[in-house]
Symmetry: C3
């Protein structure tokens, strides 16, 4: 099995972002309490519509209204675990895209078990970093050679790090946009996964959807890096850039290969 690069251009990505903004996907987020506010503001700045409830009694209704679902394991309590289950099943029934973010899955056994259980429900995408990927996918997971990742394990993968990798079936590509301050603002990765979920709802080609989200996110980071004096002023500048980046800036700024 060899991984090929999908035929995606910077123009495709700029158009995909434009479609996202005009369709304003509603992303329902079951995410941790640290990330909720920032994730909502990131979705709003990018042009999407967030909702955030985790209550078991109403999670089904919210998934029905939404265009895509994010499940983030950042903070777990019994109510959230039940909500996560109901939401994933409802998304599958309605064939809506849902995305799993197994935050810190290497840190506790109960978290790893839940993540593996959810993996069995076939999320549309998993977004993780190298450490989380190793814990979740086991010995066969080699960040430097993702061709070994079996499609049976996951439909699509966004592996983030210095270089972001997009793996869909036997195809893979890299996105190189980003800025160092993105590691100094909490919930950046969580918010990224929510944005990817929105792109999965507005673009059928999974590689293009994921790459577009990664380029938009990373490019907004680059713009913000130039306009800020530290991680504090970086965060509002990042939201501004998510909102303001135009077609030309995306075409010229996208770093894909």
């Amino acid at each position: 099995m060899t991984n090929n690069q999908p035929h995606i251009t910077a123009e495709n990505i700029a158009e995909c972002v434009s479609r996202f903004r005009s369709q304003k996907p509603h992303v329902h987020c079951i995410t941790n309490s640290v990330a909720q506010n920032f994730t909502a503001n990131v979705l709003l700045a990018a042009g999407a519509t967030p909702s955030m409830t985790v209550a078991v009694s109403e999670i089904g209704s919210f998934v029905e209204m939404a265009d895509a679902l994010l499940i983030n394991l950042g903070t777990l309590d019994p109510e959230r675990i039940r909500a996560v289950n109901i939401a994933a099943e409802r998304a599958n029934q309605l064939t809506k895209p849902w995305v799993l973010d197994p935050v810190f899955v290497q840190a506790s056994t109960s978290r790893l078990e839940l993540a593996k259980f959810l993996l069995g429900k076939r999320p549309s995408l998993v977004r993780c970093n190298a450490g989380e990927g190793k814990a979740l996918f086991g010995d066969g997971f080699d960040p430097s050679d993702l061709s070994k990742l079996k499609t049976a394990q996951v439909s699509a993968l966004a592996l983030t790090g210095k270089e972001d990798r997009v793996v869909v079936g036997e195809q893979s590509m890299s996105v190189l946009n980003g800025h160092q301050f993105m590691d100094r603002v909490t919930a950046m990765g969580c918010a990224l996964t929510a944005v990817i979920a929105g792109f999965m709802a507005t673009e059928e080609d999974a590689s293009l959807a994921i790459a577009s989200a990664l380029v938009l996110f990373g490019l907004a980071g680059e713009v913000a890096g130039k306009r800020s004096n530290g991680p504090g002023s970086f965060a509002p500048a990042f939201l501004d850039a998510l909102h303001n980046l135009n077609q030309d800036e995306i075409k010229q700024g996208a770093k894909i290969r």
Copy 2:
């Protein structure tokens, strides 16, 4: 039944804001986890004092200490539902103002039931948008003709949208301050309701209290809109303006009719 306009001037509003700032009302907020941090910062910037616990074991003590109570239905779990009940009853016993924000009440049956149940406990005010109002007040609710809204349904209403409407008994008025970025920052409406609750504690005339909160909020948005490059930089500029707006700026900037 015809709605008359209350006799409220920009000078009245500037004085009401001044009284709010000198009295520093303590607003206890039972609000959703997305909105908690921003709501606390909005109250602090406006000159009030926030508290935020939702624990059943101590919610009564906090309501006793507070000058006003906010109940926001943004995220519901069993603990919060019990806390909401205890808090509303304690506020009624102590005749302290309490304000209901039925966020997204059209989205689930369980949320609508809880909102209607709380409406029966006679909140001092309901703050909602048109969609939430229709779900909550039923067929008789016409945003373009609020004279049909029965006083039996609600003592006072702040209906927010492009034009904000204040309805108290048979009187109504409009506030037109605001900025487009206010829709691109999460929890803006939730924070507004908390500020209104504070004004209800420092001003007996409900129309004046609500209008003052709406003017202060919307005017801070206008100032922030001029000083920001997008929704990210808008949020801190908005808090700055809430803190800095002086009497003259309020008198000259208030757009009421």
Copy 3:
């Protein structure tokens, strides 16, 4: 019993901050939902690594991974209360520093009982203000004469207010850095306690650890105060300053006595 001043210089503090930044302590925070996001961003800006779960099933694993533990009583629910107990005991078993922030402990009986119970488990440090200290330590607590505070009551105390006091055993000192806007941004005190916890993990001398955290925090506030127009722009400027303050600025800016 007389309190002596520990021999701590501005140079010691600058070196202690430098060590903190190079060691990047992992601080696990059981804190209230209002403070979680800001606390994580403060730790990241200061150079530490935060984690935030409160789930009973995994709190033990997170304490094992962490270098220090923060227990903040800001919002209490049954799950958090159980997590707090497990975490404090695990930290004691592993002799890792843990720090108690008894937020608003004067406001409810259940909160005071929990705080006293935790005090009996011998936290490495308590960080509180005068009102919280009086509720927690009883009649013997005199903020203007901390020499009366018995070592049997608490190993180390950081009493914050206009002038911050550091008390360790029979020694005490003051830190005078800070800015008025720090009271107008929610969770500032909560985030400070998290930073102190990190310093307790990277510096054995408790007085030096606490004083270094207080100087870094207060000095960042002073820098931010000069670069902001209100409490809204103060918060990002504060995070920038936490990240950017260099050795010379700390040596020259530290106000200790």
